[in-house]
């Protein structure tokens, strides 16, 4: 008998998940990537490091986050729904899991500074937070358009002692912030760690970030058992770069659960993309016929990214996971329904996953299915935007 195929294991030695992944960075960054990979492998097999990581998650970040049965929404949709409450993690989303891991690694590598890219500011705030806690210097790159849209998140990072650099190149949004962070990293790599915010970038980042986020799936699997659920029929998460999805999928990849990732229609790398290389990785990208990267457009800044993590590209290709897109027009209604039925205002990112669940209940989600929804973040950051949209409509 042959071994069963296992999903979401380590990438191969070249950092590939199937044909995706890799390490497409300038030579100047290769030593840093190698150092990081070695440091991570070492740390991740060091019980003391894992204990420290888990302790910080528990004592500082509020883990484990609960699993909440969504009874009223479930009744409304004819589903049995459980929500993994990353919105209750410190700073309001799953992003904190990753930055706690990466900042601890930074200390371990003896570096004194971190940099990060951010779109809406969630990952930036999370990084600034973890950096403040450890006394690391922190610089966050943010597209100028986003610094204007998210002025309060900029201020939040500054309160946390970070410097926020508005990026004025290109489309002046997330993708350009990544470029700029890479440029800073090339320059300052000796004492600086680039704390990437999702399962993207060059190897070993997609792997590291997935590992640091996999606590979501591990916890959820254990917690569902307390509700008498052995394996949910479907696990649903929204997908920007794909870190919250990777984190929860990791707990169920080797079960019979369907894994469903929901992209924004205007940032749908699986639905509308093709293979390419950007930001250090080979993955699915939205690009034109000449290989120029397209700008993503989504109501939700966190999904406003033209690529997807390479492991997701792989899971899509081998059909272990399914990816669908939700357009802006369905997102607000989903946010409202969850708010009214359950008393949880989700992030606009998360609302994409909710919208798909609403759309497909009774369809792709057969009535009576047991669904695990990754409630990746809270909507407080989005309330002003939602109000403006509803106001404009009325």
């Amino acid at each position: 008998m042959s071994d069963p195929v296992l999903y979401m294991e380590e990438p191969d030695e070249r950092g590939r998940f199937g044909e995706f992944g890799g390490r497409f960075v300038p030579e100047a960054l290769i030593p840093a990537c190698l150092e990081l990979e070695a440091a991570f492998i070492d740390a991740w097999s060091d019980a003391a490091f894992i204990e420290e990581y888990r302790t910080v998650l528990r004592e500082f970040a509020g883990r484990p986050t609960p699993v909440t049965p969504l009874l009223r929404l479930g009744e409304h949709l004819g589903l049995r729904i459980f929500a993994k409450r990353e919105d209750l993690a410190h700073t309001g989303s799953h992003k904190i899991n990753n930055v706690i891991g990466q900042t601890l690694l930074t200390k371990r590598m003896g570096k004194r500074r971190v940099i990060a890219e951010t779109g809406a500011g969630q990952h930036g705030v999370a990084t600034a937070t973890a950096a403040a806690r450890l006394g690391l210097e922190c610089t966050v790159f943010m597209g100028e358009v986003d610094t204007e849209r998210q002025i309060l998140n900029v201020f939040r990072m500054e309160l946390l002692g970070s410097r926020v650099v508005p990026v004025t190149s290109g489309s002046r949004t997330l993708k350009d912030a990544v470029n700029e962070a890479m440029r800073d990293w090339v320059t300052c790599v000796a004492d600086t760690h680039y704390c990437i915010g999702s399962v993207m970038g060059p190897h070993p980042f997609p792997w590291i970030v997935r590992e640091f986020q996999s606590i979501i799936g591990q916890e959820a699997s254990r917690q569902l058992a307390d509700f008498g659920v052995d394996v949910p029929d479907v696990v649903i998460a929204c997908v920007g770069g794909g870190s919250n999805a990777a984190g929860i999928f990791a707990g169920f990849a080797n079960t019979s659960s369907r894994l469903v990732g929901i992209e924004a229609a205007g940032g749908s790398a699986v639905g509308n993309g093709s293979p390419g290389v950007l930001h250090g990785m080979r993955s699915l990208l939205m690009q034109d016929e000449f290989g120029q990267i397209e700008e993503a457009h989504s109501i939700s800044a966190g999904l406003d990214y033209p690529g997807i993590g390479p492991e997701h590209a792989h899971l899509a290709q081998i059909r272990r996971a399914e990816y669908y897109a939700i357009g802006d027009e369905d997102v607000i209604g989903a946010l409202r329904l969850l708010s009214e039925k359950e008393g949880i205002i989700p992030a606009l990112e998360t609302a994409h996953a909710v919208a798909w669940m609403i759309r497909e209940a009774g369809g792709a989600l057969p009535t009576g299915s047991t669904v695990l929804l990754n409630l990746s973040g809270r909507g407080d950051k989005d309330v002003a935007q939602v109000q403006a949209i509803l106001h404009a409509e009325s």
Binding site: R23, V25, E27, D176, V186
Partner: protein, 256 residues
């Protein structure tokens, strides 16, 4: 040995230091004339940028050139078409990002470059481990795959890069992106590390902004690559005569 390396070695053999200016393809209507002016002024080879939307290794000047050129509809093909009008007898080297050639098809891209008399290519986001398929494609055409060596590259890896690079070795003077900070920086040390095992021509680039810097860098290497300083002149509206003057300045500094 690819023709690019042969050509550069031939120049070096004369005792002349190589001067390689960088132009962004399609940046202006008359960019071909800029190239010609540079050659007239003493360029030994020319690097030609094929613009990419996300030029991760470039500083603000070349970024702007990328994006401006793209707004004019520049593509790999349009650059090759333009080059058919070029009247100059120096080696040409493409500089672009991997996604451009990947999307074009690696073999098709290499073939297209060679057909357009571009016999070298620099792809800064292709490190040693990822460069295999591209080198294979280049080997099918007469295109030299130029590899970069950074100040942070450890010795064993320098040896591997020096062994595998084609045409020349691109020695980054600095831990920086193009046009970011100026000066010779670590160029001397990087070149020396290459020299330990290889006598492939070694050019210093990144941060060579003034004739004086070029002179210093050329003294410890086989020559220099001049990028942002030149592109800035063109972004500012400079034409062939400004290009010519600038290159002449570099040329005479290097030769003095």
């Amino acid at each position: 040995m690819k023709s690019l390396e042969r050509d550069l070695r031939a120049v070096r053999a004369t005792g002349r230091k190589l001067l390689v200016p960088y132009f962004m393809g399609g940046l202006t209507n008359d960019w071909i004339e800029h190239v010609e002016a540079a050659v007239l002024a003493g360029a030994d080879a020319v690097e030609i940028g094929i613009p990419f939307s996300d030029p991760m290794m470039d500083g603000p000047v070349i970024q702007e050139a990328d994006l401006r050129s793209l707004t004019f509809g520049t593509t790999l093909d349009s650059i090759c078409d333009d080059l058919s009008r070029l009247d100059a007898a120096v080696p040409l080297i493409a500089m672009t990002y991997y996604n451009i050639v990947l999307h074009y098809g690696l073999e098709r891209a290499a073939g297209k470059l060679a057909d357009s008399d571009i016999h070298g290519a620099i792809i800064p986001d292709l490190p040693l481990e990822e460069t295999g398929p591209w080198i294979a494609a280049c080997d099918g055409a007469d295109v030299a795959s130029v590899l970069l060596v950074a100040p942070s590259t450890p010795p064993e890896r320098v040896d591997q890069l020096a062994a595998r690079t084609q045409g020349f070795a691109y020695a980054s003077a600095r831990m920086a992106v193009t046009g970011q900070s100026a000066g010779g920086g670590d160029g001397e040390r990087v070149v020396a590390s290459i020299r330990r095992t290889s006598d492939v021509p070694a050019l210093i680039g990144i941060g060579i902004a003034t004739p004086n810097q070029a002179k210093e860098a050329a003294e410890v290497s086989d020559g220099v690559i001049v990028g942002s300083a030149l592109v800035q002149v063109i972004l500012d509206g400079g034409g062939s005569s400004e290009v010519e003057a600038l290159i002449m300045g570099f040329r005479s500094a290097i030769d003095s």
